[in-house]
Structures are given as C-alpha cells and as structure tokens.
Symmetry: C2
Subunit: 220 residues, 2 copies
Amino acid sequence: MAQPGLKSRTVAAAIAEALRTDILSGALASGAQLRQDALAGAYGVSRIPVREALLALEGEGLVQIVPHKGAVVSALSAAEVGDVFDLRILLEPRLARASIPLLTREDLAELDAIQARFAEAVARQDRALWGALNAQLHLTMYRRAPLPRSLVLVAGLLQTSERYTRMQMARAAADRRAAAEHAQLVALCRTGKAEAAATLLAAHIEAVRADMLALMQAAG
Amino acid sequence: MAQPGLKSRTVAAAIAEALRTDILSGALASGAQLRQDALAGAYGVSRIPVREALLALEGEGLVQIVPHKGAVVSALSAAEVGDVFDLRILLEPRLARASIPLLTREDLAELDAIQARFAEAVARQDRALWGALNAQLHLTMYRRAPLPRSLVLVAGLLQTSERYTRMQMARAAADRRAAAEHAQLVALCRTGKAEAAATLLAAHIEAVRADMLALMQAAG
DNA sequence: ATTTTGTATATTGTATACAATCTTGGAGTC
DNA sequence: GACTCCAAGATTGTATACAATATACAAAAT
C-alpha cells in the first residue's frame, strides 16, 4: 500500500503514513480528536507537516476536518458500510474480468507470495497484517485492468473495508473461509478463468459483507 | 457545489475554490504548472494556504503533486474518460432508483429551478455554467439515496466529467438532446417513475459518453 | 437558579524565515 | 561535439512566530 520504501520522501508523507496505519489498525478509534500540537510533539516536528498530513488523510476519507475546530478520525454509519460493500460487489468483478487475462507471470508470483503471507497472518491471528494483505491481494489481481479510475475508487473502498474487517476476523470460521476463497481466486487467475473468478469474487465479498453487518448488529 | 456562501471560512478554502473553478472551466489547462509563489502573489496571501489548497485539490484528483517538484493540473487519458463514464452508467441509475421515491416536494421544486437555469445556460451557450448545473441536477436527483459513499464517488465522477463536457457542448445537436433528456428525467422524478428514470439515465450518460469519445478522437 | 456576558486559555489558521531539494547553465574533460 | 560535474538560482519543505477563532469557566444580571 505504501511504496515509498518505508522512509518517506517528506515528513508530511511520513506522518500521514503513520497516522493512516494507526487509524486502519484501530489504534486511533473513530471519533478520536487529532490535535496538531500533540501530534507535532509526539513525532518531534512542527505543526506544518502535521497539518498537511491531516489534509491528505481527509482526501482519503480517514479523517474529517472542521475549520477552526480540528480533525477527527472519521466514523462510518452502518448504511455507509453496507454501501461500501455493495460498491465492491459492483466494481471488483468488473475489474477482475478486465485484468485477469492480462496478468503476467510476475503478477501471479506476487499473488502467490501475498496469498502465502496472508495464510500465515490468518494462522497467527495477526489482524492488522490481515487487512493490509487482503487489500493488497485484491488490488494485485486487478492491477492490469485498463480502468484507472475504477482502480483508484476500489483502492479507497478496500481501505475503508480494512478498518472493519478487523473485527470480522475475530470469527475463526469466517477467516478460514476467506483464506480458502483467496486461494481459489489465485488459482482461477493462474488458469485465466476470469469469468469464474468474477463470480466467486462477488460471492466472496457478499459473504464478508453479511458477516460484517451481522457483527455490527451484535456489537452495536 | 460550493455551499460556503461565496466567501469561505478560511483562506485556504477560498484559494481551493478559486483554483477548482479555474480548472473546471478550463482557464487552467491540463498539465499547467501551479507555482506556490505565483499563486500566493496573485491572491495576496502566503504560500501556506496555497499549499493546503493544493493538497485539498489533490485529494479531489484535480491536481497532482510530486514531492519537491510541485503541483500540476492533472490530465486524463482517453482510457480514464471512458472509465469514468462507464462508472457513471454503473452507479447513477442505482442512485436514481434509491433516491427518486424519497424525493420531497422541495427537492422537485429545486430540480425545476436547476432545469430552468440549465435550459437558459444551453440557450446562451454558457458552457462553464452548463457543466456546474449539469452536475447539480444529477446530484439533486440522487440526494435522498441512503448510499453516502456512492454519492461521494458519483460527485467526483461528475466533477471529472464537467471538465470534458465543456468541449462536448460545442455541438449544438448534443446539447439540445441533453436538455430534452434532463427535462424528461425531472418529469419522471415528479411522477415517481424511478425505474424508467434509471433506464433513461443510462441511455443519457451513454449518449454523452459516445459524443465525448468521438470528439476526443477527432480533436486528439 | 438560569442565563448572559466577558475574559482567559486552548487550538487552529496564516505569515515570515530558514533549510533542503531540484533545475539550469556553463566550465572542463574525453 | 557529447558528456560529466559543479555552482548559482529557483522552488518546495519545514520551523518558528504571530493572528484569528473557538472553548471553558467565572462573574454578573435577570
């Protein structure tokens, strides 16, 4: 998700990356106030790069900035979570169909690698890693689709999902099924069965969505 | 598109609004370099709010920022334009179905007003206004859909379209048809025929898309 | 007691100043 | 002539300082 080799080219980007990680991992909960001075102090920088990081995160929808009031980690309503998954069901199979026939040998190798690390993360119950790898796997599958805007939008949807799949992964049953489906998806990519992959994908996302909403219902 | 009653609550927001208008109207062409100092001088402010405005616009996809190199008005490839219209065809009918049954009397009155101003703009060949009103009309139709993320995404797609519909409107034939279709859409909204509106909408966007791509082919 | 109002404090927004990075042009080398 | 290298200028990135706005709490008024 973050290509800039672990140390960013700019302080603002580094702060943004750190905050993004903390929000996606849940270390910063929805509704948390993000004080510029506090963040600047914590990272040992001035408020300027902090402000720019917050601006960038607002663009990604991770925080909400109210003029003269400050930044807050954005919260999603149940309606929005449902909408996000509906959109994924609408858009991801389309990307799969457009991309899978164009995947290279290198892409397939990368998918294998991600899938392996994914399975490992599932086994170790490492939920933070799980979310990142899940998004990475999906995006790598779609990488070759000549649909640049769709890719950007789906990347955003996956990032939003990432914040919520963490709770979902509390369920041992669900994570096992997800891992199995991912393995099937990679196999279908390898054999070039784009249509079958698209169909499975829709079912896959639908299953995650159902789990998620049930869990949100239960947990409030 | 810009609720903040014409004078923004913050300098950065005002700069962003001004730049956005210039980009959407074509006053700032794709690929144009945006120098912080020059903008700061032109607006009589320091570079800080200019930087923050650019950050915001990057989040909207209107400019692209390269670290230590600066901001450039983003250009769209033919592939991306096609993708944007495909996405609109995919998403807008869905929003229409979800929203139209929930439209209030006030919403319908607003649609009438926008439609009237729209027809006027078409008659006067005012293309800058045309684009803004087109986006406003569509978004007002979808306003009541309980699909917050979809609304955000479609707003972005409409904004992108806005930059390109301006050239399309050079064609007298196309703009007349668009105006007529808009009138039909508003009528269908009033009578609550959501399904018919969704169908017409798909055809409407498809027609605009075809015109657009033909024009891009011709103009390069 | 409730509301209002004012003031002190906290927090964000912007300007100025400085540091880091990139670009440009020419001198020198092969 | 093409290339490398280096220095000066241009441009962006960040820190510090100040201004504007919002928040919290106490005093005053009804």
